[in-house]
Symmetry: C2
Subunit: 239 residues, 2 copies
Amino acid sequence: MTTRADAVEVLLFDVFGTVMDWRTSLQKWFQRFGREHNLQADWVELVDDWRAAYQPSLARVRQGERPYVTLDVLHRESLDLLLARYGLSGVSESDRRRMARAWRCLDPWPDTVAGLTRLKRKYVIGTLSNGGLGLLVDLAKFAGLPWDVVLSADLFQHYKPDAAVYRGAPALLARPPSALMLVAAHNYDLAAARSHGYRTAFVARPTEYGPRQKADSAPKDAWDYVVTSLEELAEKMGA
Amino acid sequence: MTTRADAVEVLLFDVFGTVMDWRTSLQKWFQRFGREHNLQADWVELVDDWRAAYQPSLARVRQGERPYVTLDVLHRESLDLLLARYGLSGVSESDRRRMARAWRCLDPWPDTVAGLTRLKRKYVIGTLSNGGLGLLVDLAKFAGLPWDVVLSADLFQHYKPDAAVYRGAPALLARPPSALMLVAAHNYDLAAARSHGYRTAFVARPTEYGPRQKADSAPKDAWDYVVTSLEELAEKMGA
């Protein structure tokens, strides 16, 4: 393990779910918004439905059914469909924009900032996310994430787990894939990264999708590191 | 002036010359390298010649005479030509690599880190440089530059002042060009940025090219801000 870690120079992080607690943050955001605007709905369910639309909407881009558009566009499209389904068609354009921008106001998990701050001392730390660059930069600013570099799907016009993303990052960083480690809470992401020569670290986020989550509650392969927080990762990687 | 600054959300900085003192840094690096390797040459002249090769080598890419390659490649090619011209053909491959990497070990101007740290409190701060992303990230790590985002020519496969660079940055940042300000020590860069709708700030770096510098010793247009340091820019922009 020590030998492997010695070669790693850059840690790239999945963002939604791995470093940010999107579900609790969005729930709170919508509950407050509902109170302030006198709107009633099952916000917990709406947030879960919104996130559930994520993979199908990405799949249409990944399978070539439509050209690449940023996650901002996909988020907004699925929001519009959901508002109609929840009987909230009367929500104004400006309020819809505010709702879609709630993805820029997420709270990190409690260990995120402390863990990243430690890891940054020894490694280059950055994102490798399906979020757009603007979204990721605004989110980092909101949450105080100390990234050295922000890499996003829109730099490659492809979504993870497309090969273009995992191949593009080492090329931009002027390093071999073996100098990179992907840190993620999702097994599919780590499997793709490993297939392209990255090191891998699994961070368990067993409540990302709420108390009944089953997927990704445990590592599905022998990843280089398996941890329950970014502070534990920093500890294990000597940072 | 105040009205204009209110709309600015992102400050993008030219890097070589504007935030980094490449000339003094490279001179010192080569003088030390020469002592340690018992090599003699006019290092000051070699460094100036190396930088002088920059615009012509970029021009061949910009005019379509060759496909886009990163600045790392251009630096290395011009270094090889210079070593031959300076009677240093015997320098080994590994030492040539170390020399080319000296561009990753530059010192900032004395006001750079303090100025950026202040500006970061109020604005998103990032690069918009002809350096490659890997080079810029390594340089920021070496010099402690607190960027929120690193944007480089290789994201767009074009060098400044090509339009693709100035058009690409606002698209990635999900903002109109008018929300961006370019901060640069070079009038041509600011002129191009302004033509694409950016705000502009000129930072005078009258010794970037040494004591006999004439070009860019003064602003050539009515840029939105004209300052002599990044701390002065922070002061004027209320950061």
